[in-house]
C-alpha cells in the first residue's frame, strides 16, 4: 500500500515529537452548512486528523451525546451521500488534513461497497472506522477498502487476547484506535494505568501509531493520554461543544475555541519515549 495522508501526517508529528490530536464530529450536525464550517475550522484550531461521523439511526456503541448528534443530523437531512459531499467540499480547500470516516456498516452496505469506495476515494477520504465490522467480517469492507487505498482502522479493546490482537493488527493500517474503557463513547473516564498497559500490548504487535479514544474530555486528559500514546481522540466533548454553540448561535466558533485548548494541550505534552 502506498503512503496515505494519515501516514504522512503521523510521520510529521513524530518528527515534531508530539502526539496527534484526532477530533471527531458528526457530519451534518446540526445541519450541512454549519457542519461544513465546523469541519473547516478544525485544522485551524489545531486538529491533526479529522474523524467525520456518519450518522446512523441505531448507534449501538455510542453514548447519549453522539446518539443525539446523529439524530440531529438525520433530522436535518444528512445522508451518506451528503457526508461524502461534505468531505469533498472540505478537500477542495485542504489537501493535507487526513479524513477518517467513522460510523456503522449498514448505510455503506446499502449505498453499495464498490460505489462507496469509489466515491470515498474521489472525496479524499483516507481511512474508515466501522464499529460493527470486526476482523471476522473483513471480506465485507476492510479488504476492498485496502485495495482501494483507504486505511481500515481497528478499534482495539483491553479484553482482546494476544491471539486476537495479532489477528486484528494483521490487516490494520493508518493508526490503531485504542479503546480506553469498556463502554459506549463519551461516558466513563479512563484509567491511565490501564491505558498505558493496553498501549504497550498493542505496540508489541504493530509499529503503527496508537491513538487513545473513548472518554477523553478535557485539555488535562489530552495531556495525560497524549503522554502515553501517539495520539488522542476527542469526540463526545466536541459534539457537546457543537450543541452548546448552536444554542448560542455560533457552533463553529464554540468548537474552534474548545479545540484550540486541546490543540495547545497536545502541543505541550511532555513526550514520553516510546516504550518497546
Amino acid at each position: 500500500m502506498t503512503t496515505t495522508r494519515i501516514d504522512r501526517r503521523m510521520a510529521k508529528l513524530k518528527a515534531e515529537g508530539r502526539p496527534a490530536l484526532v477530533t471527531y464530529f458528526m457530519g451534518g450536525d446540526p445541519d450541512y452548512e454549519t457542519s461544513l464550517s465546523i469541519m473547516k475550522a478544525l485544522p485551524k484550531a489545531g486538529s491533526d486528523i479529522i474523524e467525520l461521523g456518519m450518522p446512523f439511526s441505531d448507534p449501538m456503541a455510542d453514548g447519549p451525546a453522539i446518539q443525539a448528534a446523529g439524530l440531529r443530523a438525520l433530522k436535518a437531512g444528512q445522508t451518506l451521500a451528503r457526508t461524502l459531499e461534505m468531505a469533498r467540499e472540505f478537500r477542495a480547500g485542504d489537501n493535507d488534513t487526513p479524513i477518517v470516516m467513522m460510523g456503522y456498516y449498514n448505510p455503506i452496505y446499502i449505498y453499495g461497497v464498490d460505489r462507496f469506495l469509489t466515491d470515498a476515494v474521489a472525496s479524499g477520504i483516507d481511512g474508515l472506522i466501522i464499529v460493527d465490522l470486526p476482523p471476522e467480517m473483513d471480506a465485507e469492507l476492510c479488504i476492498p477498502a485496502l485495495k482501494a487505498g483507504i486505511n481500515f482502522i481497528r478499534l482495539i479493546s483491553s479484553n482482546a487476547s494476544d491471539i486476537r490482537l495479532k489477528q486484528q493488527l494483521g490487516q490494520a493500517s493508518g493508526f490503531v484506535y485504542c479503546v480506553s474503557t469498556h463502554g459506549t463513547t463519551g461516558l466513563a473516564t479512563p484509567d491511565p494505568q490501564k491505558v498505558r498497559q493496553l498501549v504497550r500490548r498493542i505496540r508489541a504487535f504493530t509499529a503503527l501509531p496508537v491513538c487513545v479514544g473513548f472518554g477523553i474530555k478535557s485539555a488535562d486528559d489530552v495531556q495525560t493520554f497524549g503522554a502515553i500514546a501517539d495520539g488522542v481522540v476527542v469526540g463526545s466533548e466536541i459534539v457537546h461543544a457543537i450543541a452548546r454553540g448552536v444554542a448560542m448561535g455560533s457552533a463553529a466558533a464554540s468548537v474552534g475555541a474548545f479545540v484550540s485548548d486541546l490543540g495547545n494541550a497536545v502541543r505541550s505534552v511532555p513526550r514520553a519515549p516510546r516504550i518497546e
Binding site: 439511526s57 448507534p59 456503541a61 449498514n106 448505510p107 471476522e136 482482546a160 469498556h182 463502554g183 466513563a188
Partner: protein
C-alpha cells in the same frame, strides 16, 4: 435464468462463520467479539454435554411444564367449516394449536431462557441483561434469573412499558429491574440497542440473554435449538394423533423465535407447507407495519445481516404493530434465508385481522391468545376455509393473551 439450487437439507445452517447464505454473521463492536467467541465455545461444549441436556430436560418437564399439548381446536375448525360451507366450498382444514401458552410464564419464551440461563451459569457469569418487546421474554428472563439467583436488568422501550403494564409489574415482582428506553419509538429495537450498550460496558460479568433467534452468531443458532423443542414435539404429536404429517404449519414472526422453533424440525418434510406471519400493521403501503421480509431489504443491524425495514440511506425505520412482540423492524437471519430459498412463505396479517382472530379464538375456543399468536391464527382463519376437510394444519399458539387485554380493550373502545 439463475435458478437457486435446492439444498439437500434446509437444516444444516449456519456455517462456521455463522452465516445462513448471505444472512447472519457477527457484525458487532470489537469489544463484544471476545464475549461472543466465548459464548460459542461454551455453547459448542454444552450442546454435546449429556449433563447439560439432562438438566435442561428436567427443568423443561418439571419447571416449565413440557411437553406442551397439541390441541385439536375443534371450535375454531367447526366455525371455519361453517364459513367454508357458506361460501359453497364445503371444506375447512382441521386446525391444531401447539399450546405454548400453557408453559410456565405463558409463552414459548421460557424454552430459550432456561437453556440460556444454564449457559450463563456454566460460563460463570453473575449478571443477566435482556431486552423485551411485549414483556414475555422479559418475564421469562426475570423468572429464570429469580430461579437461579441472578440479578436481572431488562431493557424495554418506553412505549412498550406503557402498553404492557402487567408484564412490567410481573418483572418487578420477580426481582428484575426494568429499564425503560425512550430513544426512537421506544420499542424493541431501541431496547436491543440499549442492552447492547450495557453489554459493551459490563463485559466481564454480564450474560446477554437475547430473546429471539437474531443477533450475532451464535445467538440465532442457539435460540433456534432451544426453541426447536416446539417443532420436535409437534411433529411427534401430530404423527401420533393424526398418523401423518400436517399439510401446513403456521407461526407469527417478529424476531422469529417461536416460528423457527416450530419450523426447523419440519424443514426437510417437503410435503409440509410452512408459512410465517409478519405484522402487517395498518397496511404495507405506508410505513406503519413490521413486515421486514415482505416490504424490507437486506441490511445489517444488531449483529446480523437480515431483512430490515430501512430507507434508501440505510437508516432503520421504526415500524408499527398492534402487537409489541412483533414490533421489530428486522427478523432472525435464518428466516431471511428460508425466505430467499423459497422453503417458507412469509405473509403479512393486519392489526385489524389479528384483533378479529383474537376475539374469535376467545369466543369459540375459550382461549385468549397473545396478539402475536393471533396473527398466526388470523392466517388460519383466512386459508383454512379454502382447504379441504381432510387437510391438517398446526398453528403455533406461542403465548397467552392476558397481557394484551388492556391493549385490546383500548382498541375496542372499552374501559376496564
Amino acid at each position: 435464468m439463475n435458478q437457486p439450487t435446492e439444498p439437500n437439507s434446509f437444516r444444516t445452517g449456519p456455517d462456521e462463520q455463522g452465516m445462513f447464505g448471505i444472512f447472519g454473521g457477527r457484525f458487532v463492536a470489537e469489544t463484544l467479539m471476545p464475549l461472543i467467541l466465548d459464548l460459542q465455545r461454551h455453547w459448542d461444549e454444552a450442546k454435546n454435554d449429556p449433563s447439560f441436556k439432562a438438566e435442561l430436560s428436567d427443568l423443561s418437564t418439571h419447571y416449565a411444564g413440557r411437553p406442551s399439548k397439541l390441541y385439536y381446536a375443534e371450535g375454531l375448525t367447526r366455525h371455519l367449516r361453517d364459513v367454508s360451507a357458506a361460501k359453497g366450498l364445503g371444506g375447512g382444514a382441521k386446525i391444531y394449536f401447539k399450546r405454548e401458552d400453557l408453559n410456565h410464564t405463558g409463552s414459548h419464551k421460557i424454552n430459550n431462557c432456561l437453556g440460556q440461563i444454564l449457559l450463563a451459569k456454566r460460563m460463570g457469569k453473575t449478571r443477566i441483561i435482556a431486552e423485551t418487546g411485549a414483556g414475555q421474554h422479559g418475564v421469562a428472563s426475570a423468572t429464570v434469573a429469580a430461579r437461579f439467583g441472578f440479578p436481572c436488568f431488562v431493557y424495554m422501550g418506553a412505549t412498550d412499558v406503557e402498553r404492557q403494564k402487567p408484564n412490567v409489574f410481573r418483572m418487578k415482582l420477580l426481582g428484575a429491574e426494568v429499564r425503560p428506553v425512550s430513544a426512537g419509538h421506544g420499542t424493541l429495537k431501541d431496547a436491543m440497542n440499549e442492552a447492547l450498550r450495557d453489554w459493551v460496558t459490563n463485559v466481564h460479568d454480564t450474560y446477554y440473554l437475547i430473546g429471539t433467534a437474531a443477533g450475532p452468531h451464535p445467538y440465532p443458532e442457539l435460540v433456534r435449538d432451544f426453541q426447536s423443542v416446539i417443532g420436535t414435539e409437534a411433529r411427534a404429536q401430530i404423527l401420533e394423533q393424526e398418523g401423518r404429517l400436517p399439510d401446513m404449519i403456521v407461526a407469527a414472526v417478529g424476531g422469529g423465535s417461536n416460528a423457527i422453533g416450530l419450523f426447523h424440525p419440519f424443514l426437510d418434510d417437503r410435503s409440509v407447507k410452512i408459512v410465517g406471519i409478519e405484522a402487517g400493521g395498518r397496511g404495507l403501503d405506508g410505513i406503519e407495519h413490521c413486515a421486514s421480509m415482505s416490504a424490507g431489504k437486506p441490511g445489517v443491524l444488531h449483529g446480523n445481516r437480515t431483512y430490515l425495514l430501512q430507507n434508501d440511506d440505510g437508516q432503520i425505520l421504526d415500524g408499527h404493530s398492534i402487537s409489541a412482540g412483533l414490533d421489530y423492524p428486522g427478523v432472525g437471519p435464518e428466516h431471511s434465508w428460508l425466505r430467499d430459498s423459497g422453503r417458507v412463505d412469509y405473509v403479512p396479517i393486519l392489526d385489524d385481522e389479528a384483533l378479529e382472530a383474537f376475539q374469535l379464538t376467545t369466543k369459540v375456543e375459550g382461549i385468549i391468545p397473545a396478539l402475536e399468536s393471533a396473527h398466526a391464527i388470523a392466517h388460519a382463519v383466512k386459508v383454512a376455509p379454502e382447504m379441504g376437510k381432510d387437510k391438517v394444519m398446526i398453528v403455533n399458539l406461542s403465548g397467552r393473551g392476558d397481557k394484551d387485554v388492556h391493549t385490546v380493550a383500548k382498541m375496542l373502545g372499552m374501559e376496564i
